[in-house]
């Protein structure tokens, strides 16, 4: 018999997922059984409800949201400014509906409607709602903020004042002469630079540097390491002209000397919430960041001083950002997240002038009634059309002047929860959209998975590839399907399944149209449906790499499955949410290997090689001119594989889980390989934490590691 492991070690590597202000533990982390508490006597008033609710909260909610509503790594705080900003203008009825629809994430279990009322009363009471006497009901419609005593609310704000603005002053010109990043140098990066999230506009995550190659990679050694701020972190460093620009948790940006790791400047843009931001962008002499509260800010790349700021969307309505912008010919293009609420405003991609932040255009990812595609949402009023987030930065093509983005699925997650059917496609969700950079108009779209039903996004990076005369765009979403489309017309070209999936019974080889399994098509409220992959994705936010010399697309993949049950969501303005319970299990036939590295020939779409392991992958893949592909995993390993065979040629182990996007750069002709160790995240962290429980790692240790060959 093979290894026997007593699976008693519990990991806590789960992260946050915003569910209209309240979150699932780790974004899809689920507690399938609600815990009953001792039956309370019948309560007559609000105070008694709150007292009873305190026990229920402790038993069912505190594990994620903290005993004092202060939040944990598994769920956000539900008190103080953050809570009042989100819920102050709403009613208890809406708050109750949201909690009932989304919490606890694994299932309602034994919680009764009365229990939910009591939990709601407790949350309100803890936030200073102390002037209410009558017991809450499902239709209580007073404005929460009107009943909050300021003093009590202030007591909930336990966070110490955070730094703001420039906290470490310096100038990159003390290290190297500054050279503006021009349109030409951004479109065709110098081999020594990594000036954009995936290095080039086509999002290849490929460095042509070849000093480190298959013959000598075994000699890689640590050059320097830089400890980053703690918090949720899935970063992508930029490197330009020898300077490393890093986004830290909580919207903190640092500039480091690429040779030594010495800090040059640090800017706290705020809010200092420890939340994740995946990337930043550079243009001319500016570093441009989106913030977790949906602002767009430009800093002077030399000094870190703020140059301009603009609002992307109203954070008080739930809008946020977890990924930053790209810059195309002086236009800053940014996505948006937090679009699950039933409010008049929907998600969009926006463009701003990189020089001053002026808004240029917005493209709405949700088609409203009367607009093209507006008839794909059944009879739903516009206000109840939700989802379509663009929570991963896109790519762009200097030739066509189009920008390519993936969109997330409809919300809530299951058609029955959103009062729709499997026939209501919901444009432009779960699609590739090609948008004219100059005007913001839609050039074409291709909806990969209409009427998505399992929380499996197709939102991730679009990789642009030229093969002969063909102009192609590749994408790989949570269903694990690698899609190939013509990027001029959007026409479907081909697909391949990179991991086992059983959600679709048929994928039309000519059109790419998918047919859901019948039980998924007809899933009703509170019915469990079992499917693969899970919400951790066949692939998730970790970018794949295109290696031009070999014509291979190499993707970090994940092999897990889920059971999913829809919950009821009332069509009430201000409501909405995600509304499903989920459980996770190993993907059959994988021998328990969560991690899969797969290499695919972009011409034939055949799998050329794969490498599988127990630990899930938590970085994007990066390929190089040295015929190497680098990737990191949950078990703290950072490895170099032969790009043509998958053979492991070098590995090292870092301080905690390896997470982010590896990059490569050169200074004075010397090649460096950089990668971050980091923590936090949603389903890609939560799912391994309940399946591969024997894999443990420190719950701190965010850092940037830089490797090179000995001189």
């Amino acid at each position: 018999m093979n290894q026997f492991l007593t699976m008693t070690i519990k990991t806590t590597g789960a992260g946050l997922l915003l569910a209209a202000g309240l979150t699932a533990c780790g974004g899809g982390s689920d507690s399938s059984t609600a815990i009953p508490v001792t039956t309370q006597p019948a309560v007559a008033g609000f105070a008694s409800q709150a007292e009873s609710g305190a026990d229920l909260f402790a038993a069912n909610c505190a594990a994620c949201h903290g005993a004092n509503l202060e939040g944990t790594r598994l769920g956000p705080l539900l008190s103080g400014n953050a809570f009042l900003q989100r819920w102050g203008t709403q009613t208890p009825s809406l708050l109750l509906g949201n909690i009932q629809a989304n919490m606890p994430p694994g299932g309602a279990g034994n919680l009764s409607a009365e229990d939910y009322l009591h939990i709601t009363a407790h949350i309100l009471s803890a936030n200073g709602v102390d002037s209410v006497e009558e017991a809450l009901t499902a239709s209580s419609d007073f404005t929460i903020a009107d009943n909050v005593t300021r003093l009590v609310a202030m007591r909930q704000r336990a966070e110490p004042p955070a730094p703001q603005g420039l906290t470490f002053a310096g100038n990159t010109e003390d290290f190297v002469e500054f050279v503006p990043l021009t349109a030409e140098r951004l479109a065709n990066p110098d081999p020594a630079d990594w000036p954009a999230m995936r290095r080039n506009p086509h999002a290849h995550s490929y460095s042509p540097l070849d000093e480190v190659n298959t013959d000598n990679v075994g000699g890689l050694t640590l050059e320097w390491v830089w400890n980053m701020h703690e918090g949720d972190s899935e970063p992508s460093p930029l490197v330009y002209n020898g300077i490393v620009y890093m986004i830290n948790p909580g919207n903190v940006i640092q500039a480091l000397d690429g040779k030594t790791g010495e800090l040059i400047w640090e800017h706290w843009t705020g809010p200092a919430n420890g939340q994740d931001m995946r990337n930043i962008a550079m243009w001319d002499d500016k570093i441009i960041q989106a913030t977790t509260d949906a602002r767009l800010v430009a800093l002077d790349a030399r000094t870190g001083e703020q140059v301009w700021e603009t609002v992307l969307a109203d954070n008080s309505q739930g809008f946020s950002n977890s990924s930053g912008p790209i810059v195309a010919n002086g236009t800053v293009i940014t996505g948006l997240a937090g679009c699950a609420r039933y409010i008049p405003e929907d998600c969009y991609i926006s463009a701003h002038n990189a020089d001053n932040g002026d808004l240029l255009w917005r493209f709405n990812t949700i088609a409203k009634a009367g607009e093209p595609g507006g008839d794909t949402w059944g009879d739903l009023d516009d206000i109840f059309r939700a989802g379509g987030e663009t929570w991963i930065a896109g790519s762009w093509d200097p030739e066509t002047n189009l920008t390519y983005w993936g969109t997330a699925q409809q919300k809530p997650w299951v058609p029955v929860s959103r009062h729709l059917t499997i026939n209501d496609a919901g444009l432009y969700t779960n699609s590739t959209v090609a948008i004219d950079i100059g005007t913001g108009s839609l050039d074409w779209f291709f909806q990969h998975v209409p009427a998505e039903a399992l929380d499996l996004d197709e939102v991730f990076e679009r990789v642009l590839v030229n093969r002969g005369d063909e102009r192609l765009v590749f994408s790989l979403g949570k269903y694990g399907i690698l899609w190939k489309n013509d990027r001029i017309s959007g026409e479907f070209m081909d697909y391949t399944e990179t991991v086992f999936q059983n959600a679709f019974t048929h994928i039309d080889p000519d059109t790419g149209a998918v047919t859901y399994r019948e039980d998924i098509q007809n899933a009703q409220l509170n019915e469990w449906t079992s499917a693969c992959p899970s919400s951790a994705g066949g692939k998730d936010w970790h970018s794949m790499t295109y290696h031009p010399p070999s014509g291979l697309m190499i993707a970090p993949l994940s092999q897990t499955c889920l059971e999913n049950a829809a919950r009821e969501v009332a069509l009430v303005q201000g409501g909405g949410g995600l509304a499903a319970s989920r459980k996770f299990f190993e993907m059959p036939g994988t021998n328990g290997n969560l991690g899969k590295l797969g290499a695919y020939n972009v011409d034939t779409m055949e799998e050329v090689w794969n490498f599988q392991q127990r630990a899930s992958y938590h970085t994007g893949t990066m390929s190089t001119g040295g015929d190497l592909v680098f990737v990191g995993d949950l078990d703290r390993y950072f490895r170099a594989h032969d790009v043509n065979t998958g053979e492991v040629l070098w590995e090292t182990r870092l301080g905690t889980s390896v997470q982010g996007h590896p990059v490569s750069f050169a200074i004075d002709g010397k090649q460096y390989i950089a990668v971050t160790a980091a923590l936090g995240g949603t389903s890609p962290r939560t799912v391994p934490s309940v399946i591969a429980t024997e894999i443990t790692y420190p719950d701190h240790g965010n850092a940037l590691y830089v490797f090179s060959l000995p001189d």
Binding site: N2, T6, T33, P588, T590
Partner: protein
Amino acid sequence: MKNPGFRRSSLFGLLPKPFVQCAVLLLILLTTEISLAQEVYRARLSPMPTTPATVDEITGEGEVILTLNGNTLTVEGQFAGMSSAATGAHLHNGPLAQPGPVIHALTVDQSAAGTITATLELTAEQITELENNALYIQVHSENNAPGELRGWIFLRSHFDNL
């Protein structure tokens, strides 16, 4: 097709040619009979669907080797690390990653670690399901009556490179 790596042993050279031909034929027939009649399958047992709240309550791991000889399926497996004593184990019919009904009961040690055994007669339909990876094993326990460990059955060779 000639196998360039194949060489006759000296013993074959000393024996009469008809004898050698008969012996070779018999050997081929026997080998073919065995390979056609017997297939070895494997199931990796891992925890049933779980969440952060139940991950400490649904635990364990196991492996089951299943040998199909004709229509007789011999089941021999082990498990360990369950949260409580096993109360039963079954062979189920269900497509990959989709639960389905029980089709046979298995013998399981009534403990948190132990063995699973059975000798079963499969119908032709069940053999087809076995070949199509549409059978799985599920172990139930005192703490998890609906099931604590589960694993779909594949040809053992499926796992050779995993």
